[in-house]
């Protein structure tokens, strides 16, 4: 009787141990050690497609290191640029005309002043009319030269402004597009994560009911009516989850569509504002330059230079030697004073121009700063994607771990490992786990 009991106990114990013969014996106990190929299981998980999308996005960012464009360029940009250039051109014309008028006025005043000086000196030499005529000719030539130089300066400034503005508008457009793109993608990622979480939650919430139904269906003793009923319940469960998820997706799509529309409007609005600001700054710069030229025009034009002589092959201006020394000295003094004032004024004009150019360079650098910020934004986006990807992976593996744990417990396996280099005798739980994971799709 005792022997019988011992045999019964041994048989019972042996019957309950599901460990395969391959892993029995030795110092490790019976060897009830299992393993799973986690990569294969992850690939079969319902959320794997989402994970793969993250991987693709990260790879694309890593490979191209550029953020893709989502917002479209402003369709009126070319027209705005043309309008801006036309305004610059008109301003340049107005400045040139004003300069001509001022110089004409000054020339008349100067001629009258010289004639008065000659009359006052009682000079019998060259007549006042003759000197005035000579002054007039020289002044005319100088006026033309100054006017041409001013026109060239203005043209150069206008062209420079146009180039700078074009670059600024393009950079602003890119920065705005990038910002909108980041906002859109961040929202899309957020909604996708929520959808994934919902999908997981639905599957988890219903897992007990699903398992019970599947267990019921696997029973051979089930009659046809009960089987059909259980099958219907299972189908209804699947449909309920699918419907909830689809409804959520629809809502998310609508949210994204609204966001995209809003972002486009916002980009358009911001771009219009920035173009207007750029245009305003350009007009301001041109007005400043125009004012400088106007000031220059009101200053005395070159003094009463009587003759232009060629000395050593170079044209040089000299006061008429036939004039009395005192008068000549007076005219020379007037001429030198004018030259000095002209140089001072020219320095002021150049300094003003340099200031305008420095201001443009600074604004240009600021826009480059925006681009650098955009790049930093792209890197932050990659980091955010990686974080989301890791979170999702953790979610997926946590669910797989739960499924594997259940299987291991059912099969009486003590330890289950993953990342196994070579399974020599452990029990492969991957096929069983795959079935459970795949059932989550149903």
């Amino acid at each position: 009787m005792m022997r019988t009991a011992a045999v019964l106990a041994f048989v019972a114990a042996a019957g309950c141990s599901h460990a395969p013969a391959t892993t029995a014996g030795s110092s490790s106990g019976s060897g009830a050690v299992g393993y799973v190929r986690m990569d294969e299981l992850v690939q079969k998980h319902p959320l794997y497609e989402q994970l793969a999308r993250y991987d693709r996005s990260i790879d694309s960012f890593d490979l191209s290191a550029t953020a893709p464009q989502s917002a479209r360029p402003d369709p009126n940009l070319a027209q705005r640029e043309r309008a801006l250039q036309q305004e610059l051109h008109d301003a340049a014309d107005r400045t040139t005309k004003l300069l001509d008028a001022k110089q004409q006025q000054y020339q008349q005043q100067e001629s009258q002043a010289i004639a008065a000086a000659l009359r006052g000196a009682g000079q019998a030499g060259p007549s006042a009319a003759s000197i005035a005529g000579s002054v007039n000719t020289t002044a005319q030539a100088q006026r033309s030269s100054v006017s041409a130089q001013a026109r060239r300066d203005l043209e150069s400034l206008r062209a420079n402004l146009a180039r700078q503005n074009q670059a600024q508008v393009a950079a602003a457009q890119k920065a705005l597009n990038d910002r909108a793109d980041r906002t859109y993608r961040a929202k899309a990622d957020e909604l996708q994560s929520k959808e994934s979480a919902l999908s997981l939650k639905l599957a988890s919430d219903d897992s007990a009911q699903r398992l019970a139904l599947r267990t019921k269906l696997s029973s051979l003793a089930l009659d046809d009516t009960a089987r059909e009923d259980a099958q219907k319940q299972l189908t209804a469960l699947d449909r309920k989850e699918a419907d909830e998820l689809a409804a959520q997706r629809n809502r998310d799509q609508q949210t994204l569509a609204a966001l995209q529309s809003s972002l486009r409007t916002q980009v358009q609005h911001d771009l219009t504002a920035q173009v207007a600001a750029i245009q305003q700054r350009s007009i301001g710069a041109l007005s400043t330059r125009q004012a400088q030229l106007a000031k220059q025009a009101t200053a005395p034009v070159p003094g009463p230079v009587i003759q232009t002589m060629t000395i050593n092959g170079k044209p040089q201006q000299q006061v008429n030697p036939n004039l009395p020394p005192a008068l000549r000295a007076r005219i020379e003094q007037l001429h030198n004073d004018y030259q000095k004032r002209f140089r001072d004024d020219a320095k002021t004009t150049i300094a003003g121009f340099e200031k305008t150019r420095a201001d443009l360079s600074r604004r240009y650098a600021e826009l480059h700063g925006i681009e650098a910020g955009s790049l930093r934004g792209a890197q932050a986006q990659i980091a955010s994607l990686r974080q989301k990807r890791d979170d999702l992976y953790t979610q997926i593996t946590a669910q797989i771990d739960r499924e594997v744990k259940l299987i291991a417990q059912q099969r009486g396996i003590s330890v289950v490992l993953t990342n196994v280099v070579a399974p020599a005798g452990g029990i492969d739980l991957t096929p069983d786990a795959l079935k459970d994971i795949e059932s989550l799709h149903q």
Partner: protein, 269 residues
């Protein structure tokens, strides 16, 4: 009377034993009790490890400043020499800071493993289920008063084996295949990056990325997979010959286990 009583007791005991075993089928199979696991991340969060990390980080920042100051006036050759010197100094500092901590941690792990009759302790990250988690015990020893005392005996032979993947990767066949694949990948990365930057639409980018993945997968199947399969076959053969259950990478073994790296590399030659 005594005999009948004895028979009844024996029958009752046998019944109780059968009932107990039938009621808890897992118990009969839960007889692998010599595999432990450790959450190394939890240990690295201990104050002494955090302090060492902070010290190393500060030292590295200071070293970086010194390097920049000296490298500014140096030629390219001198800069390389300088970089090697500073890397050596950094490694030495790391050794100074962490070697005593690792020594204590190893003693604590060995002590706990010995007290629980574990022949191997595995990184918790690869344990899906089961095993004896000794993280709490090791943490208690490391945060307690006094240094942990290492056990007198060495762990018994384990049926969990391990290989040093880096050593296997350095064997001629594996290295040659890996180098070929890496070169291919670098070329693909560059070409694909250029294409992606020039792409106008999301559809274009998707298509370029698909082609890129396919090219890599094809090359991997052609060059790497045969070598990996063959290497795994060799590892499995060695493991079976030594009556091991599983083989994992050395990086996942915290304590104990059976090292079969040399047997595998000998066979791979």
């Amino acid at each position: 009377m005594n005999t009948r009583f004895t028979r009844r007791r024996i029958a009752a005991l046998a019944f109780a034993l059968i009932a107990a075993v039938l009621a808890t089928p897992a118990i009969g199979a839960t007889d692998v009790t010599d595999i432990g696991s450790l959450d190394q991340g939890a240990l690295s969060a201990l104050p002494q490890f955090q302090a060492a990390n902070k010290s190393l980080s500060d030292y590295g920042a200071n070293l970086q400043k010194q390097y920049v100051a000296r490298a500014r006036k140096a030629s390219q050759a001198q800069q390389q020499k300088l970089a090697a010197e500073f890397q050596g100094r950094m490694a030495e500092k790391q050794r100074q800071l962490f070697a005593p901590l690792f020594g204590k941690a190893q003693a604590a792990i060995a002590s706990v493993a010995s007290s629980k009759n574990l022949t191997v302790v595995i990184d918790k990250r690869i344990v899906v289920f089961g095993g004896v988690d000794i993280t709490g015990n090791v943490r208690d020893l490391l945060t307690g008063i006094g240094d942990p005392v290492p056990p007198q005996s060495t762990p018994g032979p384990s049926r969990v084996g391990y290989v040093d993947q880096a050593t296997i990767d350095a064997t001629p066949k594996v290295k040659s295949a890996t180098d070929e694949f890496n070169k291919f990948r670098q070329d693909q990365d560059k070409a694909t990056g250029d294409k992606l930057r020039a792409a106008k639409t999301d559809a274009d980018r998707e298509s370029i990325y698909r082609d890129y993945r396919k090219a890599l997968d094809d090359k991997q199947n052609q060059v790497l997979k045969p070598v990996i399969d063959s290497t795994r076959g060799v590892i499995a053969d060695v493991a079976k010959s030594k009556n091991l259950i599983l083989v994992v990478d050395r990086g996942n073994i915290v304590f104990g286990g059976t090292d079969i790296t040399k047997d595998v590399t000998d066979k791979l030659k």
